[in-house]
């Protein structure tokens, strides 16, 4: 099929960017979206133009590197997938596809479609861990049973791949779903409970400091999350935060 791509080109963080139009032909419906961009880049290199820069790595939907805003939605129109798992069969011959970087003050553009998500790193560094040393003498893994539903909920929260789609989808560029997933995973497990108070306060404080917007419960994050992380995690974090603030 033949398509028209409108791609955001921006030289670096300090220059202004704009949409540029590229026609592309003979796209196979079996291609992934990123493979389609590979083809475009090969053509651009051939013509002596600079290829479009975009983030990608594992190409199997787990590393969370890829990040495009496609036709106004993070990771494109399909659900429960990352951009690398989006296939061209989701589009029709003759379609115009707008491709932009994830946009947020806390995700500055590096170049073209590549953004800097270090703000996520700093949120996790602020408290996203259990303070346990690697001694080889920690207690036996089965010494503390964990209720299966808690273990399962913790796992569901922990499936977050840190891609930033929640921020990109949110009209407020809020990072609540991401932060909540991290807080929830630990809050639900006995190992993480010990530090829960300190953790939630520190992580929320860092989240606010990074300049993300405030949650207004639109729910866009949950819909666009490639791993389907539930809004319940946000409620849980709110709860955790309130009770931690009272302590």
């Amino acid at each position: 099929m033949n398509l028209t791509l409108k791609i955001w080109r921006q030289k670096n963080a300090t220059t202004k960017g704009k949409l540029q139009t590229y026609p592309i032909s003979d796209v196979s419906p079996d291609m992934s979206f990123l493979e389609m961009l590979d083809v475009l880049n090969e053509e651009l290199i051939e013509k002596g133009e600079e290829p479009v820069v975009f983030d990608h790595d594992c190409r199997e939907g787990i590393c969370g590197t890829c990040s495009l805003q496609i036709n106004g939605e993070p990771h494109g129109p399909d659900r429960a997938i990352t951009t690398c798992q989006l296939h061209m069969r989701m589009f029709k011959d003759g379609d115009t596809i707008t491709i932009e970087p994830f946009r947020a003050a806390a995700f500055p553009v590096i170049k073209d479609l590549m953004v800097n998500r270090d703000s996520f790193e700093r949120i996790q560094q602020a408290g996203g861990y259990v303070s346990v040393n690697t001694s080889g003498n920690t207690q036996d893994a089965n010494s503390i049973p964990v209720q299966k539903n808690n273990a399962d909920d913790a796992f569901d929260a922990a499936t977050c791949i840190g891609c930033g789609a929640c921020v990109a989808a949110c009209k407020n560029a809020s990072a609540m779903l991401f932060t909540a997933a991290k807080v929830s995973q630990f809050a639900l497990l006995p190992q993480g409970k010990v530090e829960a108070t300190r953790r939630v306060l520190a992580m929320v404080e860092q989240m606010d400091k990074e300049g993300f917007g405030n949650c207004t419960n639109t729910g866009a994050c949950e819909i666009e999350c490639p791993k389907g992380i539930s809004l319940d995690n946000i409620a849980r974090m709110n709860r955790e935060y309130l009770s931690a603030s009272m302590k």
Binding site: G72, T98, R103, A104, V204, G211, C215, T218, D232
Partner: protein, 220 residues
Amino acid sequence: MGGIFNSSIARKVAMALSGLFLVIFLLLHFIINFTSVFSADVFNEYSHFMGTNVLIQFLLQPILILGVILHFVLGFVLEYRNRSARPINYVRFNGSANSSWMSRNMIYSGLVILAFLGLHFYDFWIPEVVHKYIESHPDDPFRYYHETVAKFESPVRTGLYVLSFVLLSLHLYHGFSSSFQSMGWANKYAKGLRGFTVAYAILIPLGFIFIALYHYFNNV
């Protein structure tokens, strides 16, 4: 306690609490107004009580006004912060793919409600204050019904009221249930609660619309 009052979550909770307070007030207001449909006397009685009771006039009324102001100011702060969290907008943003119109446009439904409040104050509250505290008319427990009904003679005003209540409904549709989420409510009753809030968001504004139209057509 640290920066709780500065934190995004604390602001959300303040938003939720003030919102819930206004939701309760709205119910009360509705009940009193609704009496006007079937009994001028009951309406007058309730209105007289509300308008003359010292506790209500000098304690609850200021709290209510503060609540309204807090809710609006916080709403503007939220909106400002949220806009600056994305300084460069998307060229193409498909919000309807993943969220409701109501949830994305609380600021606009809120602004309409604010404008309506202005009209409402102009219509009722300011004349009331002038009547009671500036011009110092003698107490008349039977004036409320006529004054209220008289306002709905104008089709323009009635139309504005109806429109405002539609926006109020949209505002409540998202805001009421959202406030529980903000306060961390997520359990097996959440679904039922959501149903209740939706019913409330539709029925109460509809009731107000009914009252406005009822008096309008009675006047005709």
